[in-house]
């Protein structure tokens, strides 16, 4: 029967491909499987949601052309779940982008409270739709015909994707154009999938678009992920080699402070994480040396930071020493970072 309906068959193949892609990504990426850091958890959850979406979407499309009376309940449930999933995926994506850039959980809760309300309203609408058909109705062949509330829900989904762009633009404006994060590896396949879906509603391409986008995003981010220690969240010393390549006429940071702790353990890592100024970078150079790179150069600020870290370390029974260097005007990144080797 499905061979008689090539678009539905294509959807099943594409959803199967999406599931396979996501499973491969999760199987081959130890980092994602372990998801020790918050960004990893968020990304992992998006991948899982994509798999779930592809499963229910495939199920929903597989029911087309079946007996209406027998399959209507299953079709409604699958369709409802496949409508909730994209909203959650794009919301989760927005949260992932925000957290990756700003590393602030409180910021997520403060910024996106409205989003929780919107999602809840949409879920309630979809549940009500099961009984009333307010968002869409099923025809004899179990295809759906959408009404206005459904399109409102679509707009909300696109809003989440749009907001992720704004978060990146906001970050780049504040951080003077640092080319930190490119959303396009994710957004282009997703938008392509969504556009195709809109042109041919029988063709479910959101799943495969999202899966391809996630894989491309992971590949794009991989180099950065590999530089971060999963346990501490600090960068590894390899980062310095990358930073040395920053062009000679740009300054990578104002100050570098090296903290040396003879008996370094999780305690000193927590102290350093607690004292690290916002938007600064902490690099673990070796077993006992940690390098903080921060934009500011005011000596009095550096001294407060060193005092606070030293006091807390001594209270924890740790021996710590420190030294700092400030990047001179015109000094290249390489010359500056060599001082910490």
């Amino acid at each position: 029967m499905l061979l008689e309906h090539p678009l539905t068959l294509t959807t099943l193949i594409l959803d199967g491909a999406a599931i396979l892609l996501m499973l491969c990504l999760l199987l081959f990426s130890g980092h994602l499987r372990r998801h020790k850091r918050m960004e990893g958890k968020l990304f992992f959850f998006i991948c899982v949601l994509t798999i779930l979406f592809a499963v229910v979407n495939a199920g929903s499309h597989a029911m087309h052309f079946r007996d209406y009376d027998t399959w209507i309940v299953a079709a409604k449930i699958c369709r409802t779940l496949s409508d909730i999933a994209p909203m959650l995926i794009l919301f989760q994506w927005m949260v992932f982008v925000d957290y990756t850039l700003y590393k602030s959980r409180d910021n997520l809760l403060r910024r996106y409270k409205f989003a929780f309300v919107l999602i809840l309203l949409c879920i309630v609408m979809l549940i009500v739709n099961l009984f009333t058909g307010i968002a869409y109705e099923f025809d004899e062949e179990l295809f759906t015909h959408a009404h206005v509330p459904f399109y409102v829900m679509l707009i909300i989904e696109y809003l989440f994707l749009l907001l992720s762009f704004f978060v990146i633009i906001q970050y780049r404006v504040r951080n003077k154009g640092q080319n930190f994060f490119m959303i396009f590896p994710f957004a282009i396949p997703v938008l392509a999938g969504v556009a195709l879906n809109d042109i041919h509603p029988e063709l479910g391409t959101f799943g495969i678009g999202t899966a391809v986008g996630l894989v491309m995003m992971y590949i794009f981010m991989y180099r950065g992920i590999a530089l971060v220690d999963e346990d501490t969240g600090f960068y590894k010393a390899d980062l310095l080699e990358l930073l040395k390549k920053v062009p000679a006429n740009s300054e990578i940071g104002g100050t570098g402070i090296v903290f040396t702790c003879e008996n370094a353990d999780e305690k000193i890592q927590k102290i350093l994480a607690d004292n690290k100024p916002a938007d600064s970078i902490m690099v673990q150079l070796n077993e006992k040396d940690y390098l903080l790179l921060a934009a500011g150069q005011r000596e009095s600020a550096i001294k407060i930071l060193i005092e606070c870290v030293t006091e807390e370390a001594e209270e924890a029974g740790l021996k710590i020493s420190s030294r700092y260097e400030r990047q001179k005007k015109g000094e290249s990144s390489e010359e500056f970072l060599k001082k910490f080797e």
């Binding site: 925000d98 959980r105 970050y171 100050t255 100024p277 916002a278 600064s280 005011r298 009095s300 930071l305």
Partner: protein, 283 residues
């Protein structure tokens, strides 16, 4: 004529000629004071207080003259000559001032000393607590992540200060790092916290005269503009509860952000006319 440095050790000898709001700054790391005496046992006949700026930064040192008093022109001229020598010791490259319009003899003396004085609108605008409480911004709820600095431990406060300073924020305070938490009003000054860290402050100091002055207003989180508005709302409400309506609050429009904010809150409000001037040092 004898010149003496005004310090916290001998401050009581000069309290009669110094402004009450200036005396509390003597003893701070970046404030200097000079007085002239006719004879060893004579009281001061002239005094100058200045604040050194940019000592901690990769910029030329500057000196802002914050208080000037001289009984006559000759004393004023000598005072400025002595001060110039001190500027050279501190490697000051530029000095400037903004004094009340009617400061005695100031215009001619400073002109003679090379300052190019002129009368213009001052950078400070003064409003009352009552006027602030009447603003729309003062209405509405304050989120629970804004709290008075009195609730902070000293170490949290210092970490927050370091956090702000690493982002280039210092407000009006060259010695922000050294000022204790007790310098600021603990109930009216506030901070914003996120993820257990302080990433914004609105610090208000109550001067000897009873006036309040906003000395630092900054936030460095992703939604820093909203954070600043929340802190403003908090501080206005707290000030309205703690101080009488007529208590004066000084907003110093020292940068574009504060200029824009005060233009938005008090459109059309102008500063008083002052006598202002500047001079390149090391001529």
């Amino acid at each position: 004529m004898e010149s003496r440095n005004i310090t916290s050790d001998n401050l009581e000898d000069y309290e009669k000629i110094l402004d009450a709001d200036v005396t509390e700054n003597i003893g701070r790391d970046n404030f200097r004071g000079l007085a002239l005496h006719k004879g060893k046992d004579d009281p001061a006949c002239a005094a100058l207080i200045w604040e050194l700026k940019n000592l901690d930064e990769d910029k030329d040192n500057e000196a802002e003259l914050v208080y000037y008093f001289a009984g006559d022109k000759k004393n004023g001229e000598q005072l400025l000559e002595e001060a110039e020598a001190e500027f050279q010791e501190d490697e000051v490259k530029r000095s400037f001032f903004e004094f009340p319009e009617d400061t005695e003899n100031a215009e001619s003396i400073f002109k003679q000393a090379g300052f190019h004085p002129e009368k213009r609108e001052g950078r400070d605008i003064t409003v009352t607590v009552g006027e602030l409480a009447a603003l729309d911004i003062a209405k509405g709820n304050v989120p629970d992540f804004v709290s008075p600095i009195g609730n902070l431990m000293v170490r949290q406060f210092r970490k927050g200060i370091a956090n702000c300073m690493f982002h280039g924020k210092k407000g009006l305070l060259e010695d922000l790092a050294s000022l204790p938490m007790s310098w600021y009003d603990p109930e009216v000054s506030c901070c914003v916290e996120a993820d257990g860290k302080v990433n914004g402050f609105l610090l208000i100091h109550k001067m000897n005269s009873g006036k309040l002055i906003v000395e630092l207003m900054c936030a460095i989180g992703p939604d820093y503009r909203m954070d600043i508005l929340h802190m403003l709302r908090f501080s206005i409400k707290a000030a309205a509860e703690k101080y009488p309506e007529e208590t004066q609050v000084i907003l110093r429009r020292h940068n574009d952000a504060v200029k824009n904010l005060s233009a938005r809150l008090f459109p059309g409000k102008q500063g008083e006319t002052v006598l202002a001037g500047e001079r390149e040092e090391g001529r």
